[in-house]
Amino acid sequence: MPPPATLLPGEQWRRLHPLSPLVRVGAVIAAVPFLLVGSFSGGRQSQDGGRPNITVLIWSGLAILGLIGGFVSWLVTRWRIDQGDLQIERGLIRRQSFRIPLERIQAIDVIAPLTARILGLAEVRVISAGRGLEHGRLAYLSAAEAPVVRAQLLALAHGLAATTPEPPGYRLARVDNGRLAMGLLTRASVIVPGMLLFGAIVAAMVRPANASFTAVAVTGGLAFQSVVVTARRFNDDYNFSIAEAGDGLRLDRGLLQQRHETIPFTRIQAVRLVEPLLWRLFGWCRLDVDVARQRVSHEADRDANRVARTLIPVASRDLVVWLLSRVMPAVTSEPPAGSSSPRRARLRAPLSYHFLAAWNDDRYVCARTGRLQSATVVVPVDKVQSVRLASGPVQRALRLATVHVDTAGRRWQAAARCRDEGDADALLWTIAERARDARRQRSTAAGAQKQS
């Protein structure tokens, strides 16, 4: 194996790791020995003369086909870094060539699914603006090489020499796995199906009838689904830790599938502080982040989007507020006095009135919404793409209006809901003006940087 630290711009085409095809068919191959054993023991019992079972044939055929396909796709895939682009070529019949400009890289993840981990491999996934995730996948490199490639791509993306070592990280927080489990189990999405199932079982025991058995089956299905979702979240956020480095935030997490993600500070479009209903008993919160990305189109994109980008899945409120202040310095995380919507908003939004609030200063726009769980979205003004004011007939009658703040993030927008009409108007122009000032400041700063 070549020493991993030889990735330099303008170098030769490189291949992925030769074991890569195995990862995709790993599960199928792993099943074959079991099936073989099963068919032999089964064959002896039925005295079939040891003829190989048809299932084994099908599985082996699938595995061999998968291996051949994987090998061919490995053979025709190559990648390199040249002229400020990451270039990837793949495809035998339909040749595809991708060029990802390094300066457009938004984040780079290193992901190791279970099969890849067993084989000592890891995937490098480059997320860039204006492209689906499918384009920037390097699946797979050796586990030793992947972090090096990530560090070098990040260094090049920041305009540094490729040999610049990855800046050291400073651990901000880690999440205790017990607390993670506790936090996930006290979400309404677990408790409600659980209580429904309990109620249905009790009803079925008190009065055994067809209807109550149906109820048990239905609620059991719901409960099972919530268990699956919760287990997946636990698997995703196991051993969660967040660190801060010069190039951005680093997230390490995962039980079976381990992920090492980097989110550059400049790419953060918005953060959201979420406080689910029951977590208020423990004083816990969650901090989510939204980065710029394209709409989901491919299967791989969906897989990557499945997990919410969260900066911390569960932590005490103090810690979350402190973390928020690291990401968004000098932000006001609590709604200041006078920031709530007027009382008459209760008529338009009776279920969320108690949480509605919006406040802003010259750097951030913040808005709190929510029915049972409160969600505070913080948008830096220099990330604002457009501002919209909207009011429907009911809102007009109550002299209310909603101000939406659009960012390049895809997950959620900040919305100052049901403000007084005059306030909303003022807010619209204030945000537009501050966003303009922030853009100007940034462009003059960039200009000065270029000159120096």
Binding site: V384, Q385, S386, G409
Partner: protein, 152 residues
Amino acid sequence: MTFRPVSPRFWLARQAVLAAAGVPLVAVAALAEAVVGGPGGLAILAGVVVLLAWTWIVERGRYRAWGYAERDEDLIVRRGLLFRRVSVVPYGRMQFIDVSAGPVDRVFGLATVQLHTAAAATDARIPGLLRADAEQLRDRLAAVGEARATGL
């Protein structure tokens, strides 16, 4: 701030569409009334006429609500009668600008200018501009957008 209205021809096009739908409707109702007769038929005819008149009034309000203003740094689009909307799109954030024209638009020589930013939710759209005006507006916006372009 003064908003520029959309072309009066947009209102003409809207009325034409309304007439294309309304005239046959009234004709059918009148025919039914003539054949069947009675107060029921008359009520239906009156209902259709009132509905059409109401639609005409709302449509006129919606037409008058459309407006846009080009400021130094951003474009403002105003619209909606029942659902009022005001969008502010900074020139520096515009990624691309569409000029499109549907079949009715083409008959009346109209076009729609739509602005796109990196945010999917941006809905700045100006319909009912004369085609030459729309193209001029697009070129103007593209020019200032390029001069002020900022990244994400």
